[in-house]
Each structure stands twice: as C-alpha cells, then as structure tokens.
C-alpha cells in the first residue's frame, strides 16, 4: 500500500516557484518536529548540577526582585491580590514569551548544519524551539501553584479561559520569532536585537505592575505592545477577574498578534528558499 503511494510521488522543483505541498510536507515531517523538540529538551539541562530546577529558579528570583522593588519599595497598588501572585501571573507568560522568541530567533543559526545539509520545511525549527520553552513554562507554573496555595488564593471558573491566552502568547512569540529567525540568517545584527527586545520589553510590559495604573487615555496606545493583552488576560483568568479586562486593548493586542504571526509566516517562507545560501 505504502509502495503504491510512493510510486505516484512526483516532485517538481522549479525556479521561482514556492513549494506546492509545503503544509503537507510539514505534516509529513511532524516526527522531525517532535524529535527536534525532544532533542533540545534532553540536551537543555545536560551537564548542569541542578538541571531542570533552572526552569524554576530564574522566574522565581525575578518574582522576588519585582515584589521587593515594586511592591515593597515603590508601593505600587495590587488591590486585594497578594503582590507576589500579581507579579507571578505576569512573570510566567512574560518569561515564556521572552525565552520563546529568543530561542526561535536564534534557532536557525544554531541548526545551520542541518539547514545546509538536509531538506525539511524550515518552519519546523523555530516552532520546535518554542515547544522547548513551553515545557519550561509548564514547569515554572509550579511557582504560581505554590504561591496560590501559600496565600490561599485560588482561581475560579475564569481559569478555563487561560488556554486561550496561552495560545495568544505562543502566537506572539512565534510571530516575532519567525521574523527574527529569518532576518538573523541574512543579517546577524539581529543576534544583538534579540536580547535588547527581551530586556526592554520587560519594562514596557505590565509585569511588575497592573496595567490599570496606566492612565485611561493611554491604555489603547499601550496595548500596541501585544504582551499587554496576553498579560492582562493571564491576570484576569488567574486572579478571579479582580483585574478587569480592558476590551479594546485586548482586541487590539490580539489583532496585532495575528498580524505578526501571518506576516511572520509569509516573510519566513519567502526567505526560506535562500537560507542555505546565506547561512
């Protein structure tokens, strides 16, 4: 049966034409996607002493620092919500986003030997890089669980909406990651842009504070940062709706994420054909 199918397989390579079966090819190479993610997960904490604990320690320390600076020293308001939980609910999606787009952005360069020697839809590489950071994200979510148990602050039915915001976060990371990955192949400058965005983004996103502190007339403008929608959504879903959702902002953020993702895929696919020539 399999042989019959293969007999019919005709591949046409033509100048200036994009791959006709691209999405089918991605489906065919789904095992490679799985294996690349598996490889990176296996290798990520090899030869480290505390191993997987790194996934917890980094966000945990960031949360401690933010709680002390913003909560205690700057005395930013957090309403009825314990400040650490307010920070944690934002720090987790932010750290996921930051490491996901950075890993995706550098993933092509890191796998240059594969790109110059084997064919497969290149989209698999940044996508699998995001899977790896997603695993880190799930592990670090234990911090939030711990904090919630400690403060006796448990989420309600709104938690069901959380996966939706996770999807938006993944979309944002993949969208930016694809742009950066494709640009990085040709212009290595973007290697330096990536940590810059990660560092800068932390302060322009509502991680250490609630976005309700932003004056009303600026909030829509503020939502141009796609992470504003994601973080507000996370807080709304996790904190029993005590952080109300600013709908125009959320819609704008989400629309921008969709735009980023689609343009990222289009740009990536256009650049993909010449990756092997530049890398």
């Amino acid at each position: 049966m399999r042989e019959l199918v293969q007999d019919k397989l005709v591949l046409i390579i033509e100048a200036g034409r994009t791959e006709r079966h691209y999405w089918l090819d991605i489906w065919r190479y789904r095992e490679l996607f799985y294996f690349l993610a598996w490889r990176d997960i296996l290798v990520r904490y090899k030869q480290t002493v505390i191993g997987i604990l790194w996934a917890v320690i980094r966000p945990l320390l960031a949360i401690v620092v933010f709680t002390v600076i913003f909560g205690k020293l700057a005395n930013l308001p957090s309403g009825d919500i314990p400040y650490p939980i307010l920070v944690c609910a934002a720090m987790l999606p932010w750290q996921f986003f930051a490491s996901a787009f950075a890993e995706a952005g550098n993933s092509l360069i890191g796998n240059s030997n594969l790109i110059s020697k084997v064919y497969f839809p290149r989209l698999i590489i940044p996508a699998s890089a995001i899977v790896v950071t997603f695993v880190d994200f799930l592990i670090s979510a234990l911090i939030l669980v711990g904090l919630m148990l400690w403060y006796g602050f448990l989420p309600d039915w709104r938690l069901l909406a959380l996966p939706l915001f996770i999807v938006v976060a993944i979309g944002a990371a993949l969208g930016i990651g694809l742009w950066l990955a494709a640009l990085n192949v040709k212009y290595r400058d973007f290697r330096f842009v990536i940590p810059f965005i990660a560092q800068f983004g932390l302060y322009v996103s509502p991680v250490g504070f609630s976005s309700s502190v932003v004056p009303e007339q600026w909030r829509l403008l503020y939502s141009i940062n796609p992470l504003v929608g994601v973080i507000d959504g996370f807080r709304w879903a996790l904190l029993r709706g005590q952080e109300s959702i600013y709908w125009p902002g959320l819609i704008l953020s989400t629309a921008l994420v969709v735009l980023l993702l689609i343009s990222g895929i289009v740009f990536f696919r256009r650049a993909e054909r010449s990756f092997a020539d530049f890398i």
Binding site: L11, S116, K117, R188, D189, F190, R273
Partner: protein
C-alpha cells in the same frame, strides 16, 4: 524504462561581492552601502548607469539538461568548484534553482554529509532516532531497522554512551549505518567516502553496491575514481557548472576528467593570480614542475629525467610547524603518495625563511608508470590546520609521463600496476650448492 529524474535547463547563480571579508552580510554594511549609493546619486546624477560595486553574478551550475532512468547509478565527477555539490543541493531541495525545472519520480533521500544532526550530548541510541528522523525515516521504520543499524555500526556496547565519547571511527560507522538503512527510491550521496579509514570506506562501498543492486537510482559524487568505476553504471563530468561528458562508459568519462586538465589547461604550472590561500604562515604564489635549473617543463616527460616540484610562497611569520609538500594522484584518482619537507630527520629539514621562499623536491626517477598524474600542493601547520589540503582544496598541476621507463631491451612499454620502479636485483650461489664447497675447504 521510466525516468527517475529529469532536469531541464537548470541553472543556479550566486551574486558574489569581491573584497568581502565576512561570510555573512551585516545590516550595517547594507545601510552604509545604501547611503553611499544614495549620496553618489545625489552628487553625481550623471553617473547613474555605472555598475554598482564589484558585484558579480556567478553561475555555479548552468544549462544542465539530464535525464536519469530509474535504476541507473550515476557518478558525478569533476574538479572542486565544478558545481557537483550545488547540483546535489538543488536536487535535495536544500537550495532553490535560479532557473530551470526538475521533475523527480519517487522519494529522495540525500546524504550530503555523514552524521548530519548528530548531537554530541545524546547517546548512540537517541542519535539513531534523531538522525533517522532528520533523514526522513518514519519512527516505525527506524524501530524495525534498529538492530540492523546497531549491528552494522558495531557499537552494541556503547549504545547508551553519549556520542561525544565515541572514537571518530565509531561515530562515522554509526552515522553511515543510519543513512545506509534508508530505503528511498533515489539516493543522493556526496563524497561521504572522503572521511574514515580504509576499512570504513570498504564497508561503505560494499553497502552502496548493495543498495545499487536492489534497483534504486543512485547519484554519487566522489573524487575517488575507483569507487565511481566500481559502483556506477554511468558517469557525468561537470566542469565550470556545465556538463562536459555523459556516458555509460564510465572509464572513458574518468579518463576524460583526468586528462582534460592536462590538455586544456596545459597546467604544469600554477600561479596565484587572485590572492587565494592567503595566510601569514605561507601563501603559495607559484607551484610547478620544473627542471633542475628552475624552468617550467612543457608537455609529456620521460620517466628517467630529473623533475622537480617547486613550491614558491610568501612567509610573513615563521611557524615551526609549517609543512610544505605535495601529493601525487594517478589517473583513476587514487593517491599514490604524500611527501613533505619535514619527512626526514629534523636536522635535515630545508629551512624556511621570511619573505619569498622556494621549496623544491626531486620527483623520484623511474617510479611513476606511463600516464597522467595530478600533483596537489599540500601546506599544513602540523596537527593544527591545512592551509592547502591535497584532494580537498589546493592548487594542483598535471604531469604526463611517457617513455624512459627502463634501459632494458625487454621493457619499453607501460606496465601493469600503478608504479613501475626499476629495482636492483642481485644473485648469489644458493646455499645448497655452496655447502660441499665449504666442506672441502675444512
């Protein structure tokens, strides 16, 4: 017979920029170049049609038309830079062609490098699965062939050891073993035999023959002419990106490859005209075969004349580990021998000095048979780096030997065998004859 691969009018061009020091483009350069160009336009509007910079279009392959029937095993040969690897990369969809069209019937697996995607931290077992997936093998197939792969690679004991602890031989065997168990309709292989020891190469060749005998289409690039002759049913000769010869008579194509360098390029002398192989330790400037007085020899040479290999180069920095040498390849592409100026006792080495330095070495008389030879320059920093690597990337010249094989009336023509040395013979009275003699003395 059905066609497996049909290539029509295929071409691939690269835009190369001269004086380019970096291997990648930096945005900074694009921006500064763009600004310069803009400024130029503003200030010199009349010069608009001037060609920009030193950009040059370079066709790695062009006008390739080729039809490969199913089950044919095609050897693709040609000098370095002839476009062999580019052709394979286009066929394996790694890079896109600039023009033309290829139609492929069947599943292609390409092996452009042994061990692509191996991760040093992962164990042998894990790497088998990873590498299999990279080469496009479904997991079920890998599982089914797992034992065969391990057995072929002979690494049973080290399956759960990270491959970074493997010896290079084990690593190669494992990598090749995974690839050898692919079952594609069309197999594309690039120069995998260049690595590894004789035993490994023999194993690879055997496996490739086995794959070929099952009726699969094979495209095989190699500099090892003996391997091409053994495996392939037809051969394609590429030169400067175009097809020079294509025939089912593999030895004929190989002969053409080995000889056209000598006749067409007349290359008994290599001159460094474009600043290639630049390094502080030794930049080769001139490499040629000459007579004792240093003049370049022309045409076919007798086997009994004194011929010298001359290597002239620029030394900016004295490096004690510098090794100058050459390698001789025969017509079938087989390496006959290497020679380096550091082969003798250290006190007898020819000293190198700063500036322009000429090394010379006499080719052994009456060693080479009649025929065509390629002589590759080898320059290395001992155990550190090849500056010119024979057979891989180096200047080379051709030499034709004809006549002068021996002074014997019984031997005047080319002999069988790669070499035709005239060796001394002695005779003495045998011990049995001598024994009564010695008895009588005592």
């Amino acid at each position: 017979m059905t066609t497996a691969i049909k290539i029509e009018d295929l071409g691939k061009s690269y835009v190369i920029r001269h004086e380019q020091a970096q291997s990648y483009v930096a945005l900074r350069d694009v921006l500064t170049d763009g600004t310069k160009r803009l400024a130029n336009r503003l200030f010199n509007p009349l010069e608009r049609n001037r060609p920009q910079f030193n950009k040059e279009e370079f066709w790695a392959v062009r006008d390739i038309n080729l039809e490969i029937p199913e089950g044919e095993r095609v050897g693709i040969i040609g000098r370095n830079g002839a476009g062999k690897s580019t052709l394979l990369k286009i066929l394996s969809r790694i890079t896109a062609p600039t023009k033309g069209r290829i139609t492929i019937h069947g599943r292609v697996a390409s092996l452009l490098e042994v061990g692509t995607g191996f991760h040093p931290e992962l164990t042998g077992r894990e790497n088998i699965f990873l590498n299999g997936a990279i080469l496009g093998m479904p997991r079920a197939t890998i599982r089914r062939k797992f034992n065969d792969i391990v057995e072929f690679a002979e690494i049973e004991k080290f399956l759960d050891t990270p491959v970074k602890r493997y010896s290079s031989g084990m690593y190669l065997r494992l990598a090749f073993s995974v690839a050898a168990h692919l079952e594609p309709d069309i197999l594309v292989v690039d120069e995998v035999l260049a690595v590894g020891d004789a035993q490994f190469q023999k194993q690879c060749l055997g496996k490739m023959e086995e794959i070929g005998s099952t009726g699969r289409t094979v495209l095989f690039v190699s500099h090892n002419m003996a391997a091409v002759e053994r495996i392939c049913t037809s051969a394609v000769l590429l030169d400067s990106g175009t097809i020079q010869a294509r025939s089912e008579n593999v030895p004929a194509v190989i002969r053409e490859y080995m000889s056209f360098g000598g006749t067409r390029h007349g290359a008994l002398e290599w001159l460094n005209t474009n600043g290639a192989y630049k390094s502080r330790q030794f930049t080769p400037m001139r490499f040629y075969i000459g007579a004792a007085d240093g003049t370049v020899v022309m045409g076919a040479q007798r086997n009994d004349t004194d011929l010298y290999v001359f290597v002239e180069g620029l030394i900016d920095e004295l490096d004690p580990s510098l090794q100058i040498g050459y390698a001789v390849y025969c017509e079938s592409g087989e390496l006959l021998y290497w020679s380096f100026h550091t082969d003798a006792k250290e006190s007898e080495w020819a000293p190198s000095h700063l500036g322009r330095c000429v090394f010379q070495s006499r080719l052994p008389r009456r060693l080479l048979n009649e025929g065509h030879y390629r002589i590759d320059l080898g320059v290395a920093l001992f155990c550190r780096q090849w500056l010119c690597e024979p057979g891989i990337r180096c200047p080379y010249v051709y030499l034709e030997i004809s006549g002068g094989l021996s002074d014997s009336p019984y031997w005047s023509q080319r002999r069988p065998g790669l070499l035709s040395p005239v060796l001394p013979w002695h005779s003495s009275v045998s011990a049995d004859e001598r024994s009564p003699d010695s008895n009588s003395k005592s």
